[in-house]
Symmetry: C2
Subunit: 182 residues, 2 copies
DNA sequence: GTGAAGTCTCTTGATGTCAAACATCTTGAC
DNA sequence: GTCAAGATGTTTGACATCAAGAGACTTCAC
């Protein structure tokens, strides 16, 4: 088993490692269901919970720039595509992990706000291309700067080496999802 | 900068490290905005995306047990509390990271399904206690076993030591959120 | 005791998301 | 050519979530 929790049984110096909600969660399971091996929760429950915290923090950061989180997701996907800043709804799906109906709705709303526009795909008459307007591009750039500042603050807990290690381990978990069309 | 990506420029042996969507995302930003340091995304975008993938996988696993994800979250929080399997809505909030209105709604629906029941708090007349029914307890236990099996499969990518390391690094990021009431 | 401030849960209204069905177009085997 | 299978984007209806605020109760200083 892991000894990590041993590090902070001494409550006088919590500098070494703070307990988090998942520690309490896992301890509770070990008490209630000692027959079960709940070790997987140590990793994956933390991922889920951290993501929820990040969602909330991002929401706050974006409202300062007059954007919603979902708007940021779509606008930056287009921004990353480079000139002429256009992608198909299908390409946007794989980047944002939402369903196609949701994406249609998002494009509608962004079009109404003048941040993107819909064009027919010249090479496939079923298809559509979504293009960023100039204002959409500016808004995306501003919000990205804000987001990075916030994320840097959150990651201040870790050294550069730790961040690299964490990124590598997470990549091993995400790669199967991203590469097998699931 | 990180050298991690260097590991898999050789496309003949991808055993070492597979590229994921965030690698592509970061590469795109470095091309489009070379003036910006987007290193924080290497960690936090992976956390968010992995969480979305996990959400989907969990949803599938739970439907096999006739439960929704949100039902699982509430039922297991009560299950972990131990006999007599009851908590206040407020305690459930902090564990599930939803707003109070959402929790009210969840308790309503679980009550209708006969999985929990609402009792007046004997020590505080503003308060309520939510208690698991016998059926609720059984359903929670079954679904937990299913979830753990699935999570073990996902984590098969990593060695035990890597899982321990990952858990430790994630704890450092989640602890500030969990301990400073935010 | 009394009042102000805080806590706890529920209600309300707006909104975003999903799953599933659908219309349109493309592709490839024959 | 033609037709079935697949791909693409949209529509629909149900539903869960959130933010904000209201109502009921508790706590604590005085």
């Amino acid at each position: 088993m892991f000894d990590i929790k041993r590090l902070h049984v001494d409550t006088t110096t919590t500098l070494i490692a703070m307990e988090d909600e998942v520690d309490r969660l896992v301890a509770a399971w070990r008490r209630e269901r000692p027959d079960l091996d709940v070790e997987p929760l140590e990793v994956l429950s933390r991922v889920s919970r951290l993501a929820r915290h990040l969602d909330r923090a991002r929401r706050l950061a974006f409202t300062e720039h007059g954007l919603e989180s979902w708007e940021f997701d779509v606008l930056t996907a287009l921004r990353r595509a480079g000139t002429p800043y256009q992608l198909s709804p299908g390409q946007l799906l794989t980047q944002t992990l939402v369903t196609s109906g949701t994406m249609t709705n998002r494009i509608d709303r962004l079009t109404k706000k003048g941040l993107v526009e819909r064009l027919p795909d010249p090479s496939d008459r079923r298809g559509v291309l979504v293009r960023l307007t100039d204002e959409g591009r500016d808004r995306a750039d501003q919000a990205l700067a804000g987001l990075l500042a916030q994320e840097r603050a959150i990651l201040g807990e870790l050294t550069r080496a730790q961040r690299g290690e964490l990124a590598g381990l997470l990549r091993q978990l995400t790669a199967p999802f991203d590469n097998v069309p699931g």
